[in-house]
Symmetry: C2
């Protein structure tokens, strides 16, 4: 163990940036959350979990993410976390955010992503499908505070729920119909 | 944005594995949490945040971690998350865990790491310094459920608090005495 240790590496599938590039104008919040939902849908097509997220500054995409738990074997690699890590790395690499950062996500955050949002630097969260929608297909969102939206608002993160919820819920249901793996309170791969 | 996207990469400082290699027998929990505290202390020496963590299977270290928020610019890169991601990548690379996984950490988890533990696959959490100790030097542990230990226990993660707490608290206070940066509810680097 005295050699140079391996870095943590999470490979990115190329379809994320391809979908971002192909997205039309993202002038309003339904369009932005629509991109998060499109990412969730494409991830299902490619065997991943039914979740997508985008970090934006106004109408400009800083980074997109999808759930990579199954692909990476990392339990942390939820769509929100992937998008946030990519956005923070992009901003360090010279990408400029013209305005405050917002996270658009296809489903309300689980307990882990809720906590991560607190330290992330975003000032707005917009969600499509609900915690209950995720639970209805068997996912477990974990022990979030009952007042999780208020906790975020108290820390300067405005929250909007239920934008294009039906569209996102349809992706969750499609994942269930396909018999997609319901990972969660188990180590990835077990 | 149509080129192959960059992976997320978190470089690892070599002192983590060096400290693990130099650690003596780790037959009991104070020794294991002592390694997490030693990691926190060394991270302070190198300009990082005063937090360390180790994932173990019995007396065998799977992976150590330290807080890399300042070094990586990633708000997610708390010691627990670094140790868990490294452990999951090690286990995928052929490292075998002889027995259930436990996480030893120099300070009780924040809201993000609490949530991440739920999905991590560990079945035991042992902490040294308390949430209050971290708050006393200015860190913010965020909106964890008041009953966070019970929430973990309910999900099959046994929790032991306050092991070698005074020793870990001393590292936190040393960080404060040195004027170490109290990052938190702001984007890294802001």
């Amino acid at each position: 163990m005295s050699q140079q240790p391996a870095p943590i590496v999470i490979p990115m599938p190329s379809f994320i940036d391809e979908l971002v590039t192909r997205a039309g104008a993202l002038d309003d919040e339904p369009a932005r959350v629509g991109l998060a939902i499109a990412l969730s849908q494409e991830n299902v097509e490619r065997g991943g979990g039914p979740f997508g997220a985008v970090v934006m500054a106004g109408s400009h995409v800083i980074a997109g993410g999808v759930n990579l738990v199954l692909a990476s074997g990392l339990s942390i690699a939820h769509a929100e976390i992937v998008a946030l890590m990519r956005a923070q790395q992009a901003l360090q690499s010279g990408v400029t955010a013209l305005g405050p950062l917002a996270l658009y996500t296809s489903t309300e955050p689980c307990c882990q992503c809720f906590g991560a949002l607190v330290w992330s630097g975003i000032t707005r969260l917009v969600c499509a499908a609900t915690t209950r929608d995720a639970e209805e297909i068997g996912f477990d969102e974990g022990p979030k505070p009952a007042s999780w939206t208020e906790e975020l608002e108290r820390r300067g993160i405005s929250v909007q729920l239920g934008v294009s919820g039906a569209q996102a819920r349809e992706v969750l249901r499609e994942y269930a119909r396909r018999g997609g793996e319901i990972y969660g309170s188990r180590p990835p791969g077990s």
